[in-house]
């Protein structure tokens, strides 16, 4: 049986490749084992799978023809941007086509008067801001991997970043999409205005993790570059006080451009790694970035400084100049690789909670850390309540991995319990598919499946991701970093 199934697949594969050759040039079709290898995983390297074939189309008609072919033969299609995703959304399907959008890498148009850029999905996030800079404009969402990640992937995952506290997620910064449906039809959704008639398909597609359509063009909103940016660093002798300071800043009516928190373990690791000048004896630090006009920033610095002091900060520093500002951020952005130096393995989560509960959740996490005998480093987007706890463990010690997973599960349950969500910005993908069952009731999951079916009745687009089947709801999974083997270790993260 095993052999005949294998043969059957092999025949299908050669037929498929022949058919693809009528659409694409030879170097746009990869099927040899060694050519497929680079595509076997995305940023979540714990899951690996070779696809049947990888295609690298360059034009919209090619994508349409590929999708039609796959639909006709009922072959799964998984779209891929730069493969920097952290939840396995671009993990290939063993029986499917991996459709890379890497060659869709052109910025088609920058309209300065409309403040928009029309770009292809394979364009890197940072490349948009670089191209817009000469017009005094930029694209706001900035996932830490922005140097490498593609805008198409950002739309598929609805990515955030440090500055989404003030400027919103990807969905708030795009206006139009061109997508290819599973029938191979090209449609344009959204509008260059406030709102388009009919249902908000743009929002539905954003964050749908490649399960509803293939994105082939994106119109993003550009913002004027703020006149001045300034960052404050505050040290605390107590994590709970730092958590309270976050709520106090927001309640005072200030929305910083970024509001990040690191705890002692993370501070020490980052300091040892990049020498950012952090106070290493502090229990927690907050980094608060303010942007706007010169006067506005000056006024906000005074207010925030006072709130931080009133909240019990032991020290508040303002970056003296742009160099020091970049140094403050360097420690934060390098925190993940830095923590990776402390322990053979770590396990990262992306739970998000209403800000007010930060003190309670941080306290409970510290108690759990003691109970499980596993250290936790916390580095996260405090202003959004978006936690990235890192549990340090050693996979070679028997039982430690299991304990880590149990601990991680407790943390995510805690997030949902206080009114939060299991993922703030990394997406569900394959990684958190089981935890979807904690957050959603069967009825809600059924609704998601029905929407999927409205777009893709045969379930060919990225099957098995993001929304669990009802009988799957059972266990927990997460991102594992083994022996410091962080995928794309050169990238700044989170």
């Amino acid at each position: 049986m095993q052999t005949s199934k294998h043969n059957q697949t092999a025949i299908q594969r050669s037929t498929l490749i022949d058919a693809l050759r009528t659409i694409l040039v030879d170097d746009a079709i990869l099927f040899e084992q060694e050519d497929l290898k680079p595509y076997e995983c995305d940023g979540l390297s714990a899951y690996r799978q070779l696809p049947l074939v990888v295609v690298l189309p360059e034009t919209i008609p090619q994508v349409q023809a590929i999708v039609k072919l796959c639909q006709q033969h009922e072959i799964p299609v998984v779209a891929r941007g730069a493969g920097t995703g952290l939840s396995g959304g671009a993990l290939p399907h063993s029986e499917g086509v991996l459709l890379s959008l890497a060659r869709f890498n052109q910025i088609l148009d920058i309209n300065v008067q409309q403040r928009t850029a029309r770009v292809q999905p394979g364009v890197r996030n940072l490349a948009i801001s670089e191209a817009a800079k000469k017009f005094g404009l930029y694209y706001a969402p900035d996932p830490s991997s922005q140097i490498a990640c593609s805008i198409g992937g950002n739309v598929a995952e609805n990515s955030g970043g440090v500055h989404c506290l003030k400027y919103g997620l990807t969905v708030h910064n795009i206006q139009q999409l061109k997508i290819i449906t599973i029938d191979g039809e090209l449609i344009e959704i959204g509008a260059q205005g406030l709102d388009a008639p009919g249902y908000d398909l743009l929002a539905l597609l954003t964050g749908s993790e490649g399960m509803l359509g293939i994105i082939v063009e994106i119109t993003v909103t550009l913002l004027p570059i703020p006149e001045r940016v300034q960052v404050l660093l505050a040290a605390f002798d107590d994590v709970v006080k730092a958590g309270e300071a976050v709520g106090n800043i927001i309640s005072a009516g200030i929305i910083p451009a970024g509001l990040e928190m690191m705890d002692k373990l993370a501070i020490q690791a980052a300091e040892a790694f990049v020498h950012a000048g952090y106070p290493v004896d502090a229990e927690a630090i907050l980094l608060c970035e303010l942007d706007g006009t010169n006067e506005e920033v000056s006024a906000h610095i005074l207010t925030v400084r006072k709130i931080l002091q009133d909240s019990g900060a032991t020290e508040v520093r303002t970056a003296r100049d742009e160099t020091e500002r970049m140094t403050f951020w360097k420690g934060r952005k390098a925190a993940f690789p830095a923590v990776g130096r402390l322990s053979p393995d770590y396990y990262c989560m992306d739970g998000t909670i209403p800000r007010k509960h930060l003190p309670r959740v941080l306290k409970t996490m510290a108690d759990l850390s003691k109970a499980y005998g596993l250290p936790v480093a916390n580095v996260f987007h405090a202003g959004d309540g978006n936690l990235h706890p890192l549990i340090l463990y050693d996979a070679n010690k028997p039982g430690e991995l299991e304990r880590t997973e149990a601990f991680g599960g407790k943390i995510l349950e805690l997030c949902v319990e206080v009114g939060g969500t299991i993922t703030g910005e990394h997406g569900v993908g394959i990684e958190k598919i089981n935890q979807m069952c904690v957050q959603f009731k069967p009825l809600e999951l059924t609704q998601f499946h029905a929407i999927k079916a409205a777009f893709d009745p045969k379930g060919l687009l990225n099957p098995g991701k993001a929304v669990p089947t009802l009988h799957r709801c059972a266990e927990f999974g997460a991102m594992h970093i083994h022996h410091g083997e962080l995928p794309f270790p050169e990238l700044e993260r989170f």
Binding site: V112, Q113, Q114, R115, E157, N158, G160, C164, L165, L169, V171, I187, E188, Q192, G193, L194, D195, A196, P197, G198, Y199, D200, L201, A203, L204, G207, P224, I225, P226, E227, G247, S251, G253, I255, G292, T293, N294, E295, E296, A299, T352, P354, R355, K356, H381, D384, G385, N386, G419, T421, I422, T423, G424, E425, V428, Q439, Q447, F448, A454, V467
Partner: protein, 458 residues
Amino acid sequence: MNTDFLQALGKFLSNEQLLSKPDECWAYGYDNSRRHGQPGVVVFPSSHAQVLQIVQLCNQYKVPIVPRGRGTGTVGAAVAIENGLVLSTERMNRIIRTDTANRYMIVEPGVLNQTVQDQAADHGFFWPPDPSSAAFCTIGGNLAYNAAGPRAVKYGTPRENVLGLRAITGDGKEIKTGVLTTKGVVGYDLTRLLIGSEGSLAIITEATLKLTPLPEAKRTIQIIYADIESATQAVASIMQQSVVPCALEFIDGAAINMVREYSSVDLPEQAGAMLMVEVDGQEASLNSATASIEKAAQQSGLLSFQVAASQQAVNALWETRKALSPALRNVAPKKLNEDVVVPITNIPRLIHGLEELSSRYGIPIVNFGHAGNGNIHVNLLFDPDNEAQAANAHTCLDEMFTLVLALDGTLSGEHGVGLEKQNYIGRELDPVAMGLMRNIKLVFDPNNILNPDKSFPG
């Protein structure tokens, strides 16, 4: 009306929650589109649980439901369906919770927009969407239409200002969408899908509104230009500099003439277009913000740039804008009011195109609106008693939509589709996208019970 159905409703609704006499129901049949349908029954549920029971019962008896806030909508989405059920949310008007540290407020759909603003202001916050009818319209209605208002240019529409919803789908299932946090990427974005769906997918029973801190200070500026080109060039320049205004309103020459004729507001003779700009933020930042706007406003046709120095001066500057609506009502009580959107750089072409239509069809057209978003309220001032004008009005409207679409625009910026624009949206949306929308409708409402036969062409 089926008596079994009415009896079944009566089992869980009190007498005060159920109207079935035609004269009592009549008042719940129309909205601000001035269309009317006679409801068979009007219900006033007071809880999520009662809405659930009503929707389930309507599925069982196949009775269509029209959800209704306060009927201030202008395109007919709340107009009753003959012999259908109208579900009024006016008794679901509780503010459930205000949470300032997490910056949200949980409300029932019947709460008035103004009540939310007042309550939030007590804590130093506001909820950005502010349609002109804020004093009378409900949050549920605002969400159904994705109704925005002037502040959207800086703060976005309801879609950007809602964190999550609780709702009953058309087939009578309870769903909860979204999160209490500003981030969250789990599952499809059903929150934004339900917002703007005009009551055709689900009935919202609870909304978590994202609150924004009230700015410390605000400054109001009136800028007058000799011509449309200078004014719209200024709009584009203002939108490109780094101070995002919290209001950027545009009034064209025809509207200025109207104001001159019907009010005592004094405006320069040569005025061909006017902008009203507001900037908000820290008091300390407003001088430089104003300077930045002034720099962007320097166009060849600039006639005057006036910053209000006091609250009286602010009121005086807004007087022109506010005098507009009553003036229009005096001139043409049955005017057609459309709210199209074009990319801001196409505003001059839109206005010139409308001038041409106006002279060709002999119908005065005046335009004003939220220029920062390219959202223009086009008013066709026709007299229904004038046969020639009445005959021309709809052809003229038709040509206007063609013009808007040719300028890469959209047919409705904030008023919605409802009954009024139902037959036009097929021109804007492509058939594949519309097919997907119909599929989505079926997912939520397989029996086609919620606001059937609206919003999409038949």
